[in-house]
Structures are given as C-alpha cells and as structure tokens.
C-alpha cells in the first residue's frame, strides 16, 4: 500500500485563436477496489461551463464548452491516492463483460497478429487465464522495442507488429488483441505511474470475478505504483482530452505527469 501524490498537467497551445470549443476530459481517477482517491482538485482553463458524468465504462467524464476565443486550453489536476489496497479489482460475471471480449477496429488482428498469436500459444499450454495472460505479456515485451515516434495515436495493433515497437499504448493494444483472440475479456487502462513523465497505459484481464492488471511495457503486474484513471475497449474510450473547435490551427500538446510517494506525512 502506498500513499501517492499526483499531478497531471495538460496544455494545448494553438497557433491561432480558436472558439466554440467543445471538450470531454477523462482525467480524474476514481475509487476502485485497489485505490482510493483521498482528495483531488482540477481546474480547467479558459473559464467555461462544466459538467460531470460517468460513461458506460464507469469513467469520470468532465465535459463542457469554451465559447470565447482562446489560444490555449488545458487542465491542472492534483490529488492524493491510496494505492495497492487490493491486488485485483472486482469484476462482473462473464455475460456482462462481453463487450471487452471482442476486437475493436484498433485491435482487429491481421496476418501478423494471427501468426504471433500462434507462436505464443503453441509454446506452452496454460490452464489458467492468469498464467496465459502472463505469458502473453512476457512474449509481447520480448517481441516489441519501446520507441517513441514510431507510431501515432491511431496506430492499430497489427501495424505495431509491422513496425516492431511503439509506446505503452501500442503494447497494450497488442496485448488486448492477443487476449481477445483467446476469448479472454480484457480492457485498456489509462493511468499514471510512480515517477515523472507522461501518462501510462496498461491492460486489465478478466479472470472469473476479478480484473488483473498487466503492464506489458514494463513486463510486470500492476501494483501499488500505479494509479488508474480510466478503462475501456481500447484507447479511444479513454482519451484524456477530446475536443472540437472552430479554427484552422496547428496544435501543440504538452503533458506532464508527476507521481511521488508521500512518506513524511506530518499527521502520522
């Protein structure tokens, strides 16, 4: 168990002014069986009207409208999470998680994934979902090379194999594709990890009555160094920021995430 302080800053800068900006943010972590969000505050700029909702995957959604002209848009989030309360997150029964069992446009396998799937699962026969998922994670970790700039946001799992590597999002999509070929329900997770850098992505695999977190980018199980923000069928359900606006501009996005352990809490 850890007590983690997190900061998440996102800023979009536009080369020119934009207006009529509609946005949806999924940036706020929620309570699960393994984490409690003790407190958080979020500020979104420019000033605007804001609403909150929960989407069909259970994610906290902020949505709103910035009508006036503006040249930057973003949010500052900070808070404290208690993590590692449980090794798993409770799951609904199999017939209720069906939507996580089928491929999406992003994970739909082509020839490369099909043969990779064959290679992985002929090497060993695993009885439990847990060990099958573990094996899949390990093989993906060995197969892919972590490299930025190789892929873009919309890169499909099949293309990731073609390129031979990518970033955490790509590792997660490949793992989802292979698990779903094994008929294992699994979901994409966006979150934060101990340290300084960007947001992170990993996978949760359904095993009977629990969701088990696997991080194929780091070849490890998800533990108390992770704070989960959202989950879905693939990255598109978990976009931290999504928007449309009027303006013909070049956008530049800065993201900085900082998660550190609070050890010297004066109240202790």
């Amino acid at each position: 168990m850890k007590r983690l302080r997190f900061q998440y800053h996102m800023k979009l800068s536009f080369s020119n002014k934009v207006c009529n900006h509609r946005f949806t943010l999924k940036c706020i972590p929620r309570d699960t069986d393994s984490q409690i969000i003790e407190n958080y505050s979020v500020s979104v700029y420019p000033d605007h009207i804001n609403s909150e909702n929960i989407d069909s995957h259970g994610n906290i959604t902020l949505f709103g409208y910035a009508g006036e002209y503006h040249q930057s848009f973003g949010f500052d989030l900070e808070g404290v999470a208690i993590t590692g309360l449980s090794e798993y997150e409770g799951a609904k029964e199999l017939h209720k998680v069906g939507m996580y069992r089928y491929q999406t446009q992003i994970t739909e396998p082509g020839e490369k994934l099909k043969s990779f799937h064959k290679v992985i699962l002929s090497s060993e026969k695993n009885s439990s979902t847990d060990s099958t998922a573990h094996l899949i994670m390990q093989k993906i970790y060995e197969k892919l090379t972590y490299k930025q700039g190789l892929t873009v946001m919309e890169t499909t799992a099949e293309e990731v194999l073609n390129k031979g590597g990518g970033v955490c999002q790509d590792y997660a999509h490949v793992m989802l594709a292979i698990c779903r070929m094994e008929k294992i329900p699994c979901r994409y997770v966006t979150g934060m990890m101990l340290g300084e850098g960007s947001s992170h992505a990993w996978v949760e695999v359904w095993d009977d009555n629990k969701w088990i977190g696997f991080d194929p980018t780091n070849n490890k199980r998800v533990d108390d160094e992770y704070i989960k923000i959202s989950n879905g069928r693939d990255y598109s359900d978990c976009l931290v920021n999504q928007g449309i606006f009027i303006g013909n501009v070049i956008q530049n996005q800065e993201i900085s995430v900082f998660v550190y352990e609070e050890v010297n809490d004066k109240n202790d």
Binding site: S56, H57, F63, G98, M99, Y102, I244
Partner: protein
C-alpha cells in the same frame, strides 16, 4: 385474402373503375408537393419521384386485427430485448442468443451500456416489413428500428387521392390513415421530459427530407438541423430566429447514431450536436428512437426474434418469420450448402436491398466463391427460403400488370404499442424482381385497412 377487386365494382371491367382515371393526376400533384426521395449514386445526389400507383393494397378488418396483435407483441419483445442487452443481459446468460451476435454485430453500441431512456422506450417508431405469401400467410421479413422512414408517403397520397377521386372512397369503410401525425405526436409527448419537441434532419440532401418536413408540419414539431440545437448547462436548447434559447425535451432525430454526436460517436460528424448524448445519458432529453436500438434489428438478430418473444413474454410468436437458417449453426450450414439454389442469402451488415443474393442466380463459379466466403465468415450471413409472395396489380399505361409488393407496417410506442391502420406498400417495377426497396427503383401504393 381480400384484394381491391373485391371492393371495387365487381361487374364491370377494371378499366371502368374511377381509380385509374386519377393516376396521372395524383402523381402530378405528388410531384408538385415535392414527394421525393433522394439517392446517392456514383457519389452524386439525385432526387427521384417515388412513383405512386393508385390501386391500393386492401386488408380487411379481421386480418388487420391479427397483424396488429402480432406487431404489438413483436415490438414489445424487441423493446424488452434492447433493455436487457444494455442492462442485465439475462438473454445472454441463459444462452438464448449467442453473445457474438450482439457484440460482433454493427448495431450494438457500447456507449449505450447502462442507459435507461425516458419511460424505458427504445423503439418509439418501428417499421416492420412483411410479405404475404400466395397461400395467405404473412411473414415478417425485417424489423427496422433505427430510423424507419416511409409513413409520410401513404399519408399524403391518401389525402391527394381523396381530393382527386372522392367517389372512390365512398361507402368502402376504409380506416382513415391521416391520424399518423396524432399517433406520432402522442409518442413524442409520452417521452418528452419538458420543453419543445423537434424533428432533427440532416438537411435537404437527405433521402427522406420530404418526410422530415412533412411530419414536422403535421405534428407541429419544429424542423431543425444540428446547427439550431445547442447543449448548455446539461440541457438542450433550440435557438430560434431571434437568437433566443428555448429548452428542448424531445428530439425525433432523423440522423443515424454515428452522426448524432461527434463527442461520443463519429468525430467527423458535422451534422450532429456535440454532447447531446451526454445529457441524454443524464436523462435530460429524450432521443427518438433511442441510440443503440439497432442491436435488435440486425439481420442476424432477426432469426432470434421468435425466441425473444417466448423468452420475454412467455408467448408463441403470432407472426411468422420467414424460414431462416443461420450458417453459424453447423446443422444450418449443411442445409444451406445442400439447398443453396433455393435460398436467398443476406449479408447481415447491409440494408436497403443491397447485399442480397439469390442462390439460383449465381453462375457455378460465383457459387463456389460464395460458398467459400460463407464457410469463412458464417456469422456474416443469413439464408432464407424464397417466399413466393403475392403480386398486386399496378396500372401501367392503361394496362394492369402484376408486381411483387411488400408492406411496411408502422408501430408507435407510447404507453402501449399502437399500430397505424395503414402502411407503406412498396412494389417492384421490374416483373422478375422480389426486391421492392425504393432505393432500387420501386414505387408505392396506399394501404387500405377496412373497418370491417
């Protein structure tokens, strides 16, 4: 089985009947009223007149009561099914429907998980396509729940016909069909959560634009495009000509799910309303029909509708499905392979008369290829026995010609399902064709339901 011959003058030759004198006239007037539908062919938008034939389909009172009973039962079950799929999913748990028919189909939208629409209605307006075989048995061919169109055509044709040939209607005990607007208004008011009712159209380049404007005029709802609606403070507003914002409580949207809201569905959509789906999720506006209800009208799901009726209502289906085979099941696959020439094969992802293949029309080479495709993607197709459905005469240059005709019945759901005592009868202009879709060049007839 009753036909127009029974209620028109029996003694005289059909040419004598007043009905035929009106044909040219009525079509002229329909054209003047702009009764058209648009189609896209080779990336070009074209508006076509929808040819009207004055010889009606006639259904007697007793027969219609039977259809009514079956249609209400069917739509009730379909609503329960949609509610179950986006909620508890008992029907999957009990293995009545294999889950891949839900999740791998195009109709299921994960965004709709857990949403309860106002008053629990998912399919407010359903268009159920039926045919009657030569031995008099009715078969349901297709359920259309997304945004079924067509009611406006018999509505306006009836009105014009009555004016052009008033004697034709005298003493025939025909149920008035001009009440569709009242039924629709009742349906929209039932779920309106407070505020205006609007009909949302993609605009005049839509195939059914005539219908959108006609229904708006007849129901007293505002006809709007996405640009006139705005989400603010968790509510939906209509911006009127003076810039004033007025609350909207119900949207009869004639825009498909994927274009409805670029923040939740297709991001490229410019005809939708950003965040409308978010406030719908909160119960702050009614969307008619409910997003995601296409999960129930997928051609693959069609096969299971009689099972659904049994499952949810504990009743046997009143109306028959056309005998249908699912190559997904091994036994059915074998049947389809053995009886390929007698079957019509439909691609579950297609609509509007596209993706329909008659086994006996393929060359032997095409057959081999098609069978191979079936084996590779069994879930993608359904196969049906070809139903030899009845012809209804049409009048073509003074001659009577028999043509295949189907019936789209409209069921509207308010407190209880209501069946419109009329319907859109579509006919194929090609004598050899069984495909009656208007996008394939067919015409339409009025449907007369007799009160006796």
């Amino acid at each position: 089985m009753i036909t127009y011959m029974d209620i028109f003058n029996r003694e005289k030759n059909v040419e004598d009947l007043e009905v035929y004198t009106g044909v040219g006239d009525v079509n002229e007037q329909l054209a003047r009223y702009g009764v058209k539908f648009g189609i896209y062919k080779n990336n070009e938008f074209k508006e076509q007149l929808f040819p009207f034939d004055m010889i009606p389909r006639v259904i007697d009172g007793e027969e219609f009561r039977y259809l009514e009973k079956g249609l209400k039962q069917r739509v009730k079950a379909l609503n329960l099914f949609i509610d179950d799929i986006y909620g508890e999913k008992h029907i999957i748990k009990d293995k009545v429907i294999p889950e891949e028919f839900i999740y791998a189909g195009s109709g299921y939208l994960s965004q709709c998980e857990g949403i309860k629409p106002p008053k629990g209605v998912y399919s407010h307006i359903s268009g159920i396509d039926l045919v009657q075989s030569k031995d008099g048995i009715w078969y349901v061919l297709e359920d259309n729940l997304r945004i079924p169109s067509g009611a406006s055509y018999p509505m306006i044709a009836r009105g014009i016909s009555r004016r052009s040939a008033p004697n034709l209607f005298a003493g025939k005990h025909i149920e008035d069909n001009r009440n569709y607007a009242q039924l629709l208004r009742k349906t929209m008011d039932h779920v309106n959560i407070g505020g205006h009712t609007v009909i949302l159209s993609p605009g005049r380049y839509n195939a059914a634009y005539f219908e959108h404007s006609y229904l708006a005029e007849k129901t007293g709802a505002h006809l709007v495009t996405g640009k006139e609606l705005i989400v603010e403070n968790d509510k939906l507003y209509f911006i009127d000509y003076s810039g004033r914002k007025e609350r909207v409580g119900a949207v009869y949207r004639r825009i498909s799910d994927e274009y409805l809201d670029p923040m939740n569905f297709n991001k490229e959509s410019v005809i939708g309303i950003p965040h409308i789906f978010d406030i719908y999720r909160k119960g702050n506006v009614a969307l008619i029909n409910a997003p995601g209800n296409g999960v129930a009208d997928d051609k693959g799901i069609y096969y299971f509708v009689p099972k659904m009726i049994k499952y949810y209502l504990g009743e046997e289906a009143v109306l028959n499905n056309a005998p249908t085979f699912l190559p997904y099941y091994e036994k059915d696959m074998k049947y389809v392979m053995d009886n390929f020439d007698d079957l019509v094969i439909k691609d579950v992802a297609e609509a509007g008369g596209y993706g329909v293949v008659f086994g006996n029309k393929l060359s032997s080479e095409e057959k081999v290829r098609f069978k191979e495709m079936l084996k590779n993607e069994p879930r993608r197709f359904i196969a049906q026995n070809v139903i030899d459905f009845i012809d209804i005469d049409i009048m073509d240059n003074g001659k009577l010609l028999p043509r295949k005709a189907d019936l789209r019945a409209f069921v509207l759901m308010a407190e209880e399902p209501m069946v419109w005592k009329s319907g859109l009868t579509r006919f194929s202009r090609n004598p050899d064709s069984f495909i009656v879709n208007s996008s394939q060049g067919g015409g339409f007839k009025d449907t007369w339901v007799l009160s006796q």
